[in-house]
Amino acid sequence: MKKKTVKKLLALTLTMAMVFGIAACGSKETEAPAAEAPAAGEEETEAPAETGGAEEKIVIAGTLQDMSNEFMVMLKDAMDEKVKDYPNVDLQILDGEGSPEKQVSQIENFITQKVDAIILCPQDGTQLIPVVKEAVEAGIPVIMCSADIDEQVGQVLVGSNHKDAGIMQAEYVVDQLGGKGNIAYLRGPIGHFAEVQRFEGTEEIFAQNPDIKIVFDQTGEWDRDQGMSLMETWLQAGTQIDCVMSQNDEMVLGALTALEGANVSADILTCGMDAIPDALQAIEDGRLDATIFQDAKGQGSGALETAYKAASGEDVEPLVIPWALVTAENVAEYK
């Protein structure tokens, strides 16, 4: 029995060594230094205090929703770039792994470590409220990046208002359709803050345009494959569709492939959000009609700058990073 336990422990240790070994090699091989492997980021957490030292190092720690999300990677890249302007800042950004609970414990750790400022892109609007409050009460400034929590407890938001994106997209669609038409609407995961807020804005505009009707409305889970499958299904229903609106680019690109497969893409207005590189290319190629640009670089570097100022004792204000409508006319500026 004992022998077995020892064997198991040995196996476990070896596996761990192997996994970390691979992760370490991998991150070295990656070309972009900004996009470190998540595993490398985790290693940093274990010994942050030592690197801080007694000198006047400013420690800024953060956690972002989910590093498997391309937009989060862009935010982190922007911060890694911006931190080069502040040689005395020790920046550590962790992966929230899509879990609000995980982010709560990460922030609890930050508070225990007495970091100088916290950057947070929350996975959830409500579950993180208590821990943000705790941090603020401990005297640590909390800078929200890209998304806010549902209650003001002393945090400072640097980001874009998702409701505004929904308004901008809806206004474009109403304008293009001449105030009348049938919409197929692709949502993010139900309950996701961006899903809720983006639709709020859209709903507001549609309420003023009674001839605009949402005839299909479903979640594609931000996923291209699901956007494509839903569109294929909807096309079979025989209902007239004038426009496909999507809460992100991935889903609308999937839907677009389905429309092209059925040879109806020319008759249907398509509009996404986020302005990911693939969507910009599709606009340039004349396939996709529009997307809404969310400024990851502005949000990421803005959040870091604000966090730095707050950590240095300055008063900081919320920073609103505006959205922009991207169509064939101005796509070149965003590529």
Binding site: A11, V19, I22, A23, G26, S27, T30, A32, A35, A37, P38, A39, M67, S68, N69, E70, M72, V73, R187, I190, V215, F216, D217, Q218, T219, D223, R224, D225, M228, S229, L230, E232, T233, W234, L235, Q236, A237, G238, E250, L253, G254, T257, G261, P277, D278, Q281
Partner: protein, 320 residues
Amino acid sequence: MEREGLNASKTFKFLSKYAIYIVLLILFLAMSIMSSGFLTAGNIINILRQNSFVGMAAIGMTFVVITGGIDLSVGAVMAFAGMAAAKYCVADGSLQLPLALAVLLGLAVAALAGLANGLLVTKGKVAPFIATLGMQTILRGAALLLNSGRPFIGLSSQFANLGQGYILGIPIPVVAFIVVIAAGVLLLHFLRFGRRVYAIGGNEAAARASGIMTDWIKIWVYVLASFFSGISGIILSARVQSASPISANGYELDAVAAVVIGGTSLAGGIGNVAGTIVGVLILGIITNGLDLLNVSAYLQQIIKGAIILIAALLDRKAAK
């Protein structure tokens, strides 16, 4: 009197035995009546195409579950294989390989992941649930590492054709699904390999005692499951012209659900390929029909869950 009773129980037995087929038929008829867009050639092709991806993974999963195991890594294998192949098929990328080579590479890494699963389960004596859960996590991480969390986009038209093209008027994903089904039926129901798979699931100790190299068979079963998932993952990334590290998220559970609805026992030893196909179609038709009817996403989840449970309950009754 006695005779009637006998007949009734016979009828019940018959009904229970074919419960899932009856559920499928009822669903099919109900959807045809409720939605005018359902029973059209275009929609049927859609259902087949959209479900061929989970379907291929589910065929491999059937083997694993019959041995009494489970493979939670198939979704991650799909994403990783898709990315590994797509990496070398970016249209203006510096690392272009001929299509066949890139696909082979994707299939090879998938098979290797299966080999690792098999070795962990047999030689390492790790419970399949844990071994494949670990593999899932490693492969998702590896897929993220491949392009620093980003998807591969701008894939060559040749590669895209794998997911969007047709062979003899049948979409390629469906053709691949049919090939995988044929391979599954042959291996499980016509070759000695299949009998050994059942023997292991029925009673592994007895199978070993009768001279079956159980470890060897089980390793092959995990390789097979990963290999089929690899095919599915590569074609999936071709279909959407983008290989994303987070694609096929949760597909392993859809595959397990399809296998179990199809009458394969999680305890091992019982099950067949036909049942799994029915399971895949039941899940696929529910989703398709509810989307056509524009049933709200909240309600859809409740209905899907309920139908999975009903099918499983009917089947448990039948097993008695």
